[in-house]
Structures are given as C-alpha cells and as structure tokens.
C-alpha cells in the first residue's frame, strides 16, 4: 500500500498500488462461493459472454466477468466490498448463455449472501426486507395499480398475501428464523439513525 501524500482523494486512489499479490488471495474463497452457489465457478475461462449478455452492464459499471475472475482468484474482500455487486438484476441471461455451463448469477447471489454476513448491503435492499415483512411483497400494491387492475377486470388486490393476509405470520416466521428483519432494522438504524 502506497503511503498517503496528502493528495485529493481521487488522485490518492489512483496512485494506490493496485498490484495483485499472492497474499491478497483468500484461497478457500473460491470453494466457499462454489458451496453456496452450487455452480463450478472455478471453471470460468473469462470469455465475457456473461458481461455481453448482461442488461445491467451497458447502463452501469457492473461487470459480472470481473466478479467471476475474483471468485477464481480468491479475491474475497475486493469482491464483497465492490458496490457493483448489488447491480445484478438476476435476469439469468448470463446463466443461460455461459458456454462452460456455469451459473454466474448464482455466484453473485452467493457473494451477496457472504457480504451480508459482514453487514455489507445497500440500505434499499434492507428496505425491501422491511416491505416483505410488513406486506409479503418486495414491491407492495398501491392505488395506481389497484385502479389499473380494476380497469382490466381484475380484483383490486392479487391473490397473494394482499388478498390473504392470514398467511403473513408464516412469512414473518421464516424471516425471523434467519434474523433478517432484526438485522435489517439494526443496520438501517445504524446508517440512517
């Protein structure tokens, strides 16, 4: 790591020694990712079909191929701390097209799981947890939607927890079992006060 010379932050970041050393690697990271994702991440040969297929890539800095590379090299901290990790929409296009039959989407999901154990997660994801806890929906129904449904001759609410709120306790039980709500509330409080 280069010593700080009091440059502006952006320049400091640029001058930082970005070389990859053997010590940077967590050798069992690849294996842990594979155990969680149930896919052969180490077989990636970096063809780039995943990034090419990715609808997020042309609109953001998200490069799924680089996450696959980090998985292979065991660059745990770099992978988990990269905010781009949360830009995957889980559309599974990459998984459909990967010539080595790997599921890159599942690798991302595994990394997100591992990141969450270190409290690394954007707040909006936690707000989704809160929404599910209260309504059973990540994106709950609203009045605009209800009016649209009526115009189409549908019921105002879909046949989900909106229509059958009696199932909500079951959903909450699952979330409570994994301490998801509890952790979400804690982190949101820490960040937003």
């Amino acid at each position: 790591m280069a010593k700080s010379k009091g440059y502006p932050e952006a320049l400091e970041k640029k001058l930082h020694d970005q070389r990859y050393y053997r010590e940077d690697s967590t050798p069992d990271f690849t294996k842990r990712v594979e155990d969680k994702s149930r896919t052969i991440a180490h077989m990636c040969f970096q063809c780039g079909t995943c990034t090419g297929s990715c609808p997020s890539a042309p609109r953001s800095t998200y490069r799924i191929r680089k996450f696959m590379r980090r998985a292979v090299l065991g660059l745990e901290s770099e992978a988990l701390n990269d905010p781009d990790l949360w830009l995957c929409t889980t559309c599974y296009s990459c998984t459909d097209r990967c010539p080595r039959d790997i599921a890159p989407t599942d690798v991302i999901m595994a990394m997100r799981n591992m990141a969450f154990t270190h409290d690394i997660i954007p707040v909006n994801f936690l707000k989704t947890v809160t929404a599910i806890y209260s309504s059973g929906h990540g994106v709950p129904n609203n009045d605009v939607n209800r009016a649209a449904r009526e115009r189409l001759g549908l019921t105002r609410d879909p046949p989900t927890t909106h229509m059958y709120p009696e199932y909500m306790p079951g959903i909450r039980k699952i979330l409570d079992h994994y301490h998801l709500k509890e952790n979400a509330d804690r982190i949101i409080k820490e960040r937003e006060g």
């Binding site: 990859y20 050393y21 053997r22 077989m43 040969f45 970096q46 590379r69 292979v72 090299l73 080595r100």
Partner: protein, 718 residues
Amino acid sequence: MMVEKKKTTTKKTETKKQDTKKEAPVKQEAKKQAPAPAAKTVAAPGVTTKPEDARIGVFICHCGTNIAGSMDIPAVQEYAKTLPHVAYVDNYKYMCSMPGQTVINKAIKDNKLTGVVVAACSPRLHEPTFRTATKEGGLNPFRFEMANIREQNSWVHMHDREGSTDKAKDAIRIAVAKAALLQDLFPKTVPVEKAAMVVGAGVAGMQAALDLAAAGIKTYLIESTPSIGGRMSQLDKTFPTLDCSQCILTPKMVDVGRSQNIELLTYSEVDNVEGYIGNFDVTIRKKARGVLTPTEAEARGIVGGGCNGCGDCEAVCPVIKPNVFEVGMKPRKAIYINHPQVVPLIYTIDFDSCIKCGLCVTACGPEKKAIDLESKDEFMKVKVGTAILATGYDIFPIEKKEEWGYKRFENVITSLEFERLICASGPTGGYPVRPSDGEKPKRVAFVLCAGSRDNTGIGKPYCSRFCCMYSLKHAHQIVEKMPGCIPYIFYMDIRSFGKAYEEFYYRIQDEGAKFIRGRVANILEDPKTKNLHVYADDTLLDRPVDMEVDMVVLAAAIQPAADTERTRRLFGVSCTGDGWLQEAHPKLNPCGTTTAGVFLAGVCQGPKDIPDTVASAEGAASAASIPIHKGEVELEPYFATCIEERCAGCGMCVNLCPYTALSLVEKEGRQVMQVTEAKCKGCGTCGGFCPGGAIWMNHFATPQIVAQIDAFLLGGEQ
C-alpha cells in the same frame, strides 16, 4: 496519387522503348540464329513451328467473379483478336472445368492451332490441367503458355477496372508472343533406385522408416546421436492421453532395431549428397564411436565379441561429464549410454572428454574386445531413390531473453528440464525439486510463449505450437504428484486446438491449475529465499500481478536443430527465414520439397506436436515410396542444352550450377560443356551467364524470352 504514379510508369516505359528500339536490330539477328542450332542440338526430337505459321488460341477465364469482377473481359477478348498469330479467342466462366477444357480441345482441332494461351490463374495451380487439355487437343503439352490475370492482376487491382483490363491485355500479348515460339518437348524418364534414406531417428524419422520398410523398401535410417528416439524419448508423459512417452515409443524403437529392411546407422551423419531423384549418391560419415557392435566385431574376426551393453566399462571410467540427455542435470562418464532403454544398446565414447586411460578396455575383457580407443571416422556410400529429412528441433536458448533470468536464477528452469525432473527415470526419480535447495516446490509458475510470438529479433516470431499443451500437462502432473502444490499458468492464449485438447484444458482447470492471462514481463529473485517474483498483468482483472513462487518453468520456444542448415544444403532444400525447411506447398504439398525426391517429416518443417509429427512422417513415407514403387520418374524437360558450336569450353557455367548438373567433356578434340539432364532443374543460371550465348534453356529459351520482352515494350508491333 494514382494518376501521378501512372504517369511515371508510362515515362519509364517510353525510355525503355527508345532503348530497345536502338538495340532491336541486334536482338532480332540473334533471334533468327538461335532457334536453328537449338533445334539441331535439342536431344528430344523437337518439332518447331515457324513463327510465321503459328496459330495461337487464346482462352480467357472469368474464374467466376474472381477475374470477371475486376476487368472488362469482352474488351480483353476483342484486343486479343488483334494480336499477331492469334487465330482464335474465346472466354468461359471456369476454364479449368470439364466444359472449359472441352472448349480448348475443340478449338485446337477446329482451328488447327499450333499453340494455346490460357489467361487465368497462376500456373502453379492449373498449368498441369491445361497442359493435359492441350495434349488432348492433339498438341504437344508444352505448346501451352499461361497468362496470370488473377493472382497478379484481378486480385491485386480489384478496385482499378481500367488498369486491370490493360494489364490483362499486356499479359496476353506477352504470352502469345512466347506461345508462337514454343517447341515440342518430351519429358525424360529415369529409373529409381529401390532404396530410401531417412535423416534423423526421432519419432518422425522412425515412423517414416518403419512405413517405408513395411512397404518393402530398403531404408537407411541415419541418426547423429548414439541412440534413436529423439526428443520424444526425453519426455515423461504425452498430452492429452497422458500415455508414458517411453512406453509408447519403445516398441517403435525396438521395431526399428529389428526391421529387416531398415539399416540403422546411429552416431552417423550425412556427409555429402550427389545425384537427383531416383539416384542419390549419399556419403555417410560414421563418427568414431570407440565401441564395436557385435557385427563390426565379427567383421574384425572377434567371434562372439562386440558390445553387449553390460556397462562394465562405464563403472570403471574415471571421467565425469554432464549428461546431455538429462539436460545436464545428471552426470555421465566418458563412455556412456543415454538412458537404460537405448536402441541400439551399444556404448559410445565421447572422445572430446576421454583421457584414453584404458581402464574400460581392461574391464571389457579379452572375449568381447568391444572397445577400440583408436577408432576413426569411417565413410560409406549408399545409393537411394528418395530421401526424407526428419532433423527435428532444439530448444531456443531462452537465457537470451534476459528478463526471465534463466541461467541467472537457479529456480528458473525450462520445460524440457521440468520434463526430466517429473520423469520417473530422470535425475530426481520423478519428484521435481528446486535446484537451489532440493526442496519440494509449493507454487510453480509456468511462463507460456517464452521466446515464441516475439518480434524483437531475439525470440521467435512464430507460435511453437505445443507449449500450451505440455504446460497444461505439467500442471496436471504437479497436481497429481505433489498435493498442495499450485501451478500458475501465465498465458496469452491457450491454444488447445487438437483432438481432445480443449477437453484436456477443461480437465486441468478443473483439477485446480490457476490461469493468469498475461505475458510474464519479468522475474526477480529474492536473494535470501531464492523465491521468484513473477511480474505480469492480469489482463482479465486489469491489474498488475506480483506473484511470489518457488519455481518458474519457461515454456521456451523451439528452433530448427543445429545441424538442419548443413543437412538442407546437402539436399538442396530451401528454408524459411526462421530456418524451418520449406515444403513444396504449405497446404497441398506439405511433405514434398522443391527438390524432387526429397521429402520432409516432422518438426524440421515447422513446430508440430506428436500426432501431427507422426501423421506428417507417414505422409512423407507415402510420398517417398511413390517414385520407388513406380520404378521410374518423369523429369520436366526444362533442362539446359549446350549449343556446341558456340561453346568455348570456358567452364564458368560448371561452377555456377547449383545442382552440379554441368561438366566439361572432350568432344572432337576440344572441351565442351555437357548437361546431365536429370540433374538440371532448368533454373537458367548457366543460360543467363554464358558469355557466348551457347546455352539453350528449353522452354525458357532466349528468343522466347526476348519475344516476350519485345511484346511488352513494343506493344506487339515487331
């Protein structure tokens, strides 16, 4: 730009025109004289049509749109009709097709043509086709001349329709001028000696010799080292099947040793080659070996003697030298065999290091009497019909690429050294250790393209073609034999192109080899630990890498074996700029050379893995057996002929001839030059040089060439 260029060209042509006009009368005189004596001296009964009686047919090929797409064919056709001697002009979509050939055939008969010009592709492609068509039309096949309006015209002037049309007119005019002067020629046949020679007894040479022998041909297999097997016998396992290299090679070595039709000459070199296809006289130098084979012993009257490979001599020899077979990593004595499975199992004395103490002679004993410390090089002459070169390769001296520290850092080794270290019969019993401290390495970096794909002039510009695959194999062997040791492969591309190769790559990656896409920039040594820091760019991560490893294996480039240059000159085979031997055609004649009767097998022609090498050897053996089985070969009648009344017997041409085809003989009380037609390649060196104009080059005779030049410069108005 284009216009300017054109102008300059025209100017030049004009000046030339003037020059030629001045000289023209002299040349025409020569033209009138030359054909007459030539017709007399040409050995074959040539029929010559008087130029004024010549009736030439011109056939213009469209080659689909290859030619027709870039020029105005009707304009070219109309122009051709105006040329002197032209009696018939036609065009066709594909002149080389059967209907196209029929057009030629019919036109010759209907129009009583005396010569044929086809304006189409390169003569290298279709000259034989159109010669046959000419013959079928009832003319001598050498009454055919080709005008190349594709490779040298439409393909290179694709966007200049007017220019390419003009150029096609020029080409046809020139060809017609020559066609009017063509003579009937008759190819000669020479008998072929029913024996072949293979130079180099690596896997390519052995396979070629075995195939030739199996086809019933007596084969001399020449090997410069004391035993056969070549590079392949140094390898541990072979990709992608992981067969043990020695295990699959030994049966072939034994077969070579046993075959009745193979005369194996190890520790021998080709010293001199004379002759031509069908009749090569080869002098072989049997280097002083110092040890007699049982046969040689018997010839000296030592019954039941000769070397039996017992090794008693080696045990007592006091001289210790590095073992070349083990890439210097093991000692050997001054009297030695390369490895336990050698064929033939005969010891060899390295006379450069032998101190002639005589201990080995005593150890060998009075019965065998196998050792002769005073032995000298011996020469033997053999006659063969065809020869195959299989001279193989050497490892590029990778220390020349200083950034990787080979020979400076102890733990940087080459792949061939690693091959010996991982081999059970090698110096470490098959368990690689760090040269610096003998410890087992935990992390090994493989540097691919070490010296290959390098245009600096230090390395080699080509891909050495098998390094990717053997490095994958090495990675596999590390994972297999040394649990916990991680192979890191630094690569630019993984070229796993062969059958089951990509699957092998998949397997090795699955086994845990780490791949880093980036060429290793440099390597530094930690002077305390002797560990190595490998610097590269992980181009996939877009980050520079500093990888500390225990050992580095350089997948060094390969280059033609040291003696290739000398051998190829003896056989008159050309080579590429890199020194690899030149095949007759890279795609359609990969085993042949431009020297008739000489063929190429294996890596001497260019980098090849074992499957490709064996395939190439079988191809070469098949090609080399054809003339032998045919019993005679037809030679192109392009040889030089001496016009004796003009020859002053100066003999200057004799030394100029690159094929030793010329000699001076006594005729009617004076010296004249004589051509050995079978040796002459028709290169024209003598004909162009002869100060007296006494050499007539068949099919490329001076009047014919002058007519072509005149046609070009004077626009056909002669």
